[in-house]
């Protein structure tokens, strides 16, 4: 038995070794087993029940492929994205204002807390239905519904962010008579950033769901509308295809865009906890 009394060798691995290890773990991961099991169970269940009701995995993926390749997916995606961009943009603004107010003064917190709680508790369904009833098929319907559904999530995270701004750092800046703009730029904004990102991520996920809901009831295009169409046609494989695409888009945005951004801006932190 060779013994070493220096630092363990494992801490001196090069990056290529670590990449190799990561790849190995990825390939040998149990997740593939899980996917195989899921597909098998699905196939068996589809065979057991009426295949009109439960489509086979192949059928669903074929449909999915068609939708993407024909470009339909991107058309509908764009239509939904426009609505989300406007609606969520407004939600960010409103949520920011409310969050900052609530975080800075207790009085504002008392006034506004219920708006936020109520907003969190209310199902997006109600907002969607009311918006459609009121605005019909115009762009206003999705925009207001998205705004109403997602602003509370942004507000809550911003509020926590404001409350978390270190009074000690602010006091220290005051002692050193640091210029206001510097304080905002180098203390307040960096403090808020992780919370703003967390709020953005959560709010964005909610916005997507809200927009889909509205498109279900009052739209003529968009991913939600496609899902409605599948439902009306009783096309289970169609809906599953669109649902999977929807899920993939969300996962892509979450892991491909938002998470890396959050990690980049939060790299000085030991950990970021998300509110709600």
């Amino acid at each position: 038995m060779e013994a070493i009394t220096a630092t363990p060798v494992s801490s001196r691995l090069g990056w290529s070794d670590r990449l190799g290890q990561s790849l190995k773990r990825f390939i040998l991961s149990p997740r593939w087993l899980a996917i195989v099991v899921a597909l098998v169970v699905w196939q068996i269940y589809a065979d057991y029940r009426d295949t009109r009701l439960i489509p086979t995995p192949i059928r669903v993926f074929t449909k999915l492929y068609e939708i993407v390749v024909s470009g339909l997916f991107f058309e509908e995606l764009a239509a939904s994205m426009v609505r989300i961009a406007i609606g969520f943009g407004a939600a960010l603004l409103v949520g920011l204002i409310i969050g900052i107010l609530m975080g800075s003064r207790d009085s504002w917190n008392d006034y506004l807390k219920d708006l936020v709680t109520f907003g969190l508790a209310m199902p997006g369904l109600i907002y969607a239905l009311v918006a459609v009833l009121f605005f019909g098929l115009s762009l206003w319907a999705p925009v207001t519904a998205i705004l109403a559904t997602s602003y509370p999530f942004v507000a809550v995270n911003i509020r926590e962010g404001v409350k978390a701004i270190s009074k000690e750092l602010l006091d220290m800046s005051r002692v050193y008579q640091v210029k206001r703009s510097k304080v905002v730029l180098q203390i307040i904004l960096p403090s808020l950033l992780p919370f703003a990102l967390a709020g953005f991520r959560l709010g964005f996920a909610i916005a997507w769901k809200a927009s889909t809901l509205v498109e279900l009831f009052g739209a003529t295009n968009g991913i939600g509308w496609q899902i409605r169409a599948s439902f009306d046609e009783f096309s289970v494989h169609g809906m599953l295809a669109w649902a999977l695409l929807f899920g993939l888009v969300m996962l892509f945005i979450e892991y491909g865009i938002l998470l890396p951004i959050e990690r980049y801006f939060g790299r000085w932190r030991p950990k970021v906890k998300q509110v709600m």
Binding site: M1, E2, A3, I4, T5, P8, V9, S10
Partner: protein
Amino acid sequence: MEATAISVRNLVKTYGDPGRELLVLDRISFDVATSSLVTIVGPSGSGKSTLLNVLAGLEPYKSGNVEIYSSAGGSKLGYVFQSSRLLPWLSIEDNLMFVRPQHVDKARHKERTQRYLKMVGLKNVGQKYPHQLSGGMQQRVGIARSLCVEPAVLLMDEPFSHLDELTAEQMRAELLQIWQATQRTIIFITHDLQEAVQLGDRLIMLDYQGHIFEDIKIDLPRPREFTDRAFVDFYADVVRRFHQMQAKRAEELTDSET
């Protein structure tokens, strides 16, 4: 009276994957007599906490033999940790009941908890929750807990290192009184040489290679104060030996680099 409580033979302990192992304890052998108070010192990373964990059965070892002798059906171990390790959602009384050994019935154990809480000066604290007690008091509860299972061996891992010096000093004096009253076999780990010499009737010094560098009997009467010439001389000698060990280590490091 000179029965053996613990017997360790050629204990080898390593960390890491086979082929790339880090040797922490290298063929350690020693016996501990019952009712003795043995202090184990060593620099950080010398494996003293690991040794305790192996004795406690918390960590496996590569080879060798470890035996703890207890009376038939009696509890083997009590352990006092650096942090109190009390269950925060149980009262102090319930925390002590939590460790009731299988072979002791509730009433008898309850009587013991009350007796030992009283012994550490926490008679009325039974219904409080840990967060309501100070650090020193929580450590005392930990000590009471270790006592009330009436173990063959009491293991203590730097139990006073997280306390302020005044409290720690007080706790050391109390520990000696408890030891003399209960006659338990105690293994006490510390990085503080002074604490080790003040408390133990035997001192084991580990070195950086996982060997026993020194095994010294301490025959001095207690309390050991710095006003006592014999104690000062003895302590100075121990410090000297400790520095010898460190010098040897420095030598080896420079040797290996050439």
